[in-house]
């Protein structure tokens, strides 16, 4: 087969990602649960890669969780999205980068809808004008923050201080990658590798020295399911989905789980804790869990950032087993300290899940 032919076949699995000048919109879930990841994204983009990135303090939730719990009509969410576009247009930007996968999916859905039903774009423009007096241009490029880290993964590798290699054995660490459903299941062409060959996290893992684990339930949802977690009576759905994944990946002995969605790392982290409390079951060696990281946290570790600056202390499943394997030094005494080193106390240790790697 000619190379051009092969390239043509894979073309639909590739994605255009902007090079610079990003308008950044934040994620509700990440700001609540993984604030260190958003901080690290900006640190890498602005200080390591010298990119221009702008945030307007007036941007808000896109309303995505409200939309997917169905308390908000599509017209409302389309207009909320249009308002973010207006803020981007007013600031002179055209490359949107979203921290959230639910947002990324919603932006993609809105743009696709307007493409097929131009009358709805016009209606949304009228709504936005009436409500806010704002006008907008559609973005030239919509990327998820993980697309950007993927695009510059080799630059990050060149600057790396640590890699995904076990310092004792010299072997690559074994990594489970988990893609957020709304990254590419709804609109495969919007994600790197589409829904069939998602490559956004695999590319990072391979370039940073690790080995990707393929396992039966690799593409199964983490179990957020919006209303299936948010209402207490439904959480059996959520924990069952995560458990199905853990049981499926366990025989492959993963050293870590890497995620690109805001919700997934929270559920894959918290449900390991809940399962350990409910059934005494843990999925790592010696009553340890499997550490679950965001792509920014992993990029930060590779770049040699302090694990407690990245926010690894707010994980319920400790990341220390991974830090030990990668040979990354850390100070257990500082783990739960405040910004000026003040004593904030410490969380209680769970019943079964090993929490304090080194007793302090």
């Amino acid at each position: 087969m000619k190379i051009e032919g092969k390239q043509n076949i894979w073309k639909e699995y590739q994605k255009e990602i902007a090079e610079d000048h990003f308008f950044y919109v934040r994620s509700c879930v990440r700001q609540n649960f993984f604030p260190g990841s958003e901080k690290t994204f900006l640190r890498i983009l602005q200080y390591e890669l010298k990119k221009d990135l702008f945030e307007n303090p007036s941007h808000t939730t896109c309303s995505g969780i409200g939309y997917h719990t169905d308390i908000i009509p599509f017209e409302t969410s389309m207009t909320m999205v249009a308002r973010q576009f207006a803020l981007m247009t007013e600031a002179g930007y055209e490359n949107l980068v979203t921290s959230c996968i639910t947002s990324f999916g919603l932006y993609s859905e809105v743009l696709e809808t307007w493409h097929h039903f131009p009358e709805l774009e016009e209606k949304t423009r009228q709504f936005l004008r009436k409500a806010t007096g704002r006008e907008f241009k559609k973005p030239a490029n919509v990327s998820h923050a993980s697309d950007i880290i993927f695009k510059f993964r080799k630059e990050i590798a060149e600057k790396s201080k640590y890699s995904l290699v076990n310092k004792d054995t010299g072997k690559p660490l074994r990594v489970v990658e988990h893609i957020g459903c709304h990254y590419s299941k709804m609109f495969p062409s919007k994600g790197i590798g589409g829904a069939e060959y998602p490559y956004v996290l695999v590319g990072m893992i391979e370039d940073w020295g690790g080995e990707v684990i393929d396992y039966p339930e690799r593409r199964h949802c983490c179990g957020f399911g919006f209303r299936q977690y948010l209402v207490q009576a439904n959480r059996g759905f959520s924990i069952s989905c995560s458990k199905k994944k853990f049981d499926s990946m366990e025989p492959y002995k993963p050293d870590m789980i890497l995620t690109n969605c805001p919700g997934c790392p929270m559920f894959l982290d918290r449900w390991q804790y809940a399962i350990s409390e409910m059934e005494g079951k843990t999925y790592g060696e010696n009553n340890q869990g499997i550490p679950v990281l965001t792509y920014e946290e992993l990029a930060g570790l590779v770049l040699g950032y302090n694990p407690w600056d990245l926010g690894l202390q707010v994980h319920q499943v400790p990341a220390e087993p991974l830090l030990d394997k990668m040979g990354i030094p850390y100070d257990p005494e500082m783990k739960f300290r405040g910004a000026d080193g003040q004593d904030l106390g410490k969380p209680e240790a769970p019943t079964t899940l090993k929490f304090y790697a080194k007793e302090v």
Binding site: N32, T69, D70, I72, P73, W271
Partner: protein, 239 residues
């Protein structure tokens, strides 16, 4: 053709989501909800294709339409380009517009979501807000969240957030003008009207069930719908 089918057809997601279903069941095979609940997306398309008024009405009043997690895994696999997940969104919207959602245990939960997520969007400009995520309502969040909750400002500060601060950054205070704009967007696009309908129909249902319902997070009806699980939803072993 029925009235209810016509109403569903007005929703662009319905038109996009239902082309022609050949009943192969692939959506059901890949569906995480079908694995956990007594639920088959295939069956929903089956009913919708009949366009039968009474069957659609029954569906709109049932638990069935509330089992989906909207992960959209079904979209990746349908050989006919249907999107059962989008049909669910259209069904849930109509069920709320007509007040049918209060007829089922899972549908009634919409009030709990409206009074948490819906309230936080309008009040804070965020779908979630850390001081509102209470450890006793979220035991699964574990002792680390309890510790964070106790030390929220210090932990957020340690992690580089601008919690409740002015200017940009993580968990900044959304400016009043921006919150005003969101509210007007909800007014002109039907978002507020949807929320009012959820309240109004829930109030009727609470009265019918003889339960107390006021405006807060802790009335009897609210607590009941947030925690009630009849146990009749999951697939039985003999299936």
């Amino acid at each position: 053709m029925s009235d209810l089918y016509d109403k569903l057809f007005e929703d662009v997601r319905f038109r996009e989501g239902l082309k022609a279903c050949l009943n192969c069941g692939t959506c059901t095979a890949i569906c995480p909800a079908a694995e956990f609940y007594d639920y088959q997306p295939r069956r929903i398309l089956d009913i919708l294709q009949t366009r039968d008024q009474s069957q659609i009405e029954e569906l709109l009043k049932s638990n069935t339409i509330w089992y989906c997690g909207e992960c959209m895994s079904c979209v990746t696999r349908c050989p006919r380009g249907n999107a059962p997940g989008l049909l669910i969104q259209a069904l849930r919207s109509l069920s709320q517009e007509l007040g049918y959602f209060t007829e089922s245990e899972k549908g009634r939960q919409q009030l709990a979501i409206k009074r948490t997520i819906g309230k936080w969007i309008l009040e804070y400009g965020y779908c979630l807000y850390p001081s509102e995520i209470l450890p006793d309502m979220h035991p699964e969040q574990g002792p680390v969240w309890e510790w964070e909750h106790k030390n929220m400002e210090a932990v957020m500060n340690r992690l580089g957030a601008n919690y409740k601060g002015t200017g940009g950054g993580i968990l900044r205070k959304i400016p009043e003008e921006a919150l005003g704009e969101i509210r007007r967007i909800f007014e002109v696009t039907g978002g507020l009207s949807r929320m009012e309908k959820i309240e109004e129909f829930s109030r009727k249902k609470a009265a019918e069930m003889g339960m107390e319902m006021n405006d807060g997070k802790n009335d009897d009806y609210m607590k009941f719908i947030y925690t009630e699980n009849s146990g009749d939803h999951t697939r039985k072993n003999e299936d």
